[in-house]
């Protein structure tokens, strides 16, 4: 029995020595800044709309899209009998950049696949968001095992063939509380060392916005909190330089509802300004923004109402200190039929050529696609709009 004491001490020394020598060094993220798009004004203004989600499922929701390395646009959404029903899967199709044709719709992720790969019971899937990371296409999406969306966890699957086939699903571990309530909605960003910054949010008891820093294999390295309490979710993150970012957020506040939340990172990504209410309204709804010729020249698609998702509108601002201007309305409910939130979850994508693809949920029945080119945007903008 006397050997126990030195033996245990030896175990302690060995264990902690190993841990200290393996202590990973996590770098402060430095964003890859996208090249701001050169305007191409040669073409005629073009704005086209189409329903693209087919009729495979009764309800569809939460579309996002990514421009692939070959110039094609891959769109993702989830669908099922209802938003929260057990048969929800992730669906996808591709808009061919060469001939402007749509591929067939594929069910790319089913709950059975996620259960098999993560070794957990999975009840439903939702909110896909994608990232082109070198030659790989990363797909993040949420899954629920118990309860509603507040019980979601985030998952990652990687495709090496632009989304035709998908690798094993990996569960992201991001909360000590049964790892529940980490959701995604908006596009991730890349950092210079290959890490990924994934905008996320929590909505079990608290409702707040966060960022997850992932390594090149999708492990969570660090977390940054943008807000706390029950104020804001679904951050849309835009880098303004290599070390700073801005975020627009859905307003879930009971005390200060109705206005779009905004925050700006400070010295480090862990430090964010307190939530500021913009002049733009927000009916507790998702928004999506892109940067134009400069980091602070923005287009933002949103519901232009403090309490109802009855329209889909687009606002523009030319710089940090300038006011937002409403430049286009894509949808407006005109009939008096009682419909709950007919238009929601916009996702705006800017292509490398400087044109735009907007996707949003249309009465939960369709994903609507709006394509408009740079010339069409210039027609929408006020006279002092972006220079070429």
């Amino acid at each position: 029995m006397k050997a126990i004491r030195p033996g245990v001490l030896l175990v302690i020394v060995a264990g902690f020595t190993l841990a200290i020598s393996n202590l990973p060094a996590v770098q402060e993220p430095a964003f890859v800044i996208p090249a701001y798009r050169a305007s191409s004004q040669d073409s005629e203004p073009m704005l086209e709309t189409a329903f693209i989600s087919g009729d495979l499922t009764r309800e569809v929701h939460s579309a996002t899209a990514i421009e692939l390395n070959n110039g094609d646009i891959r769109v993702f959404w989830y669908g099922g009998k209802r938003e929260g029903s057990k048969d929800t899967s992730i669906y996808s199709r591709v808009l061919n950049g060469a001939d402007n044709s749509w591929s067939d719709i594929d069910e790319i992720m089913a709950r059975q696949t996620v259960a098999r790969d993560t070794h957990r019971y999975i009840r439903k899937l939702g909110n896909p968001v994608a990232l082109v990371n070198g030659d790989e296409l990363w797909l993040f999406f949420v899954s629920v095992s118990v309860g509603g969306w507040a019980g979601s966890s985030t998952n990652l699957s990687v495709s090496k063939d632009n989304g035709t086939t998908w690798g094993p699903v990996k569960r992201l571990i991001s909360s000590p509380f049964m790892n529940i309530s980490t959701l995604v909605k908006n596009a991730p960003l890349l950092t210079k060392n290959g890490d990924v910054i994934l905008p996320a949010y929590h909505e079990f008891l608290g409702k707040f916005a966060e960022l997850l820093q992932l390594d090149s294999t999708g492990n969570v390295l660090k977390k940054y909190r943008i807000s706390h309490g029950r104020q804001a979710i679904q951050p849309d993150l835009l880098p303004v330089d290599t070390t700073h970012a801005i975020a627009f957020m859905r307003n879930t506040s009971a005390q200060r509802p109705g206005k779009l939340w905004f925050s700006r990172s400070q010295q480090q990504l862990a430090d964010w300004t307190p939530l500021a209410a913009l002049a733009l309204p927000n009916p507790d709804a998702a928004v999506s923004a892109v940067q134009l010729n400069t980091p602070e020249e923005l287009l933002l698609v949103f519901n232009n109402h403090p309490s109802e998702r009855d329209d889909i509108s687009m606002a523009y601002r030319s710089g940090n200190d300038t006011a937002w201007q409403l430049v286009h309305q894509f949808e407006k409910k005109t009939d008096t039929k009682k419909e709950h939130n007919p238009y929601s979850y916009p996702f705006l994508l800017q292509t490398r050529e400087g044109n735009f693809h907007l996707f949003y949920t249309w009465k939960r029945k369709h994903i609507k696609h709006v394509y408009f080119n740079r010339a069409a945007l210039l027609d929408m903008l006020p006279p002092a709009g972006p220079e070429s």
Partner: protein, 198 residues
Amino acid sequence: MMSATPLLTGLTMVLLCLAFATVLLPLNRLPLAVRLLLIVVITLTVLLPLSEYPGWYYVRSIFGDSSITALFLYVALILQQNFSWQLYQENELVLLRRLVLAAALLLYPFALGVAQYDSYSLGYANPWLLTVLLILTLFCWYKKYYFLAVALTAGVTAWSLQLLESLNLWDYLIDPALLLIMILTWLRPSMKKIQPNL
């Protein structure tokens, strides 16, 4: 055929279920044969497919992975309560309960967004948390709480080897199921007391 990792994960879920059964059911008052039979039944129920998936998929989808500290406690608790194999002292259980409660108070309210501060972030490659754990582990060793000292060291070692899905040290030390079982060991007066001479 299951690969080794899913099977091991399944076995950790078996331990979790057996630990819950041990603190919730009067297993120690049953004849040994009945006790063993119940343990086998619980093990098979958790490991074998229930309808669509193995039973442990459902357990894991609710509780997540067990921390390493928790697994040490579950093994010790099952052995001590059902087979009178004493791996820890009563004082160690009391200290572990206090530590788990303190860690839970430090972690869970912040994880649910009570403040801008997020204590869970301390678990990502933080030398200060490691230092605190080293001091705590050496204190346990000094007090001859060898079970706790080895359990904490095993948690830290497993974290450095990334044996769980998480890279966060907290997930190797504490989990909500451990907190629940710690509370149950405190609330259940019918649990067998440990001999004081160990």
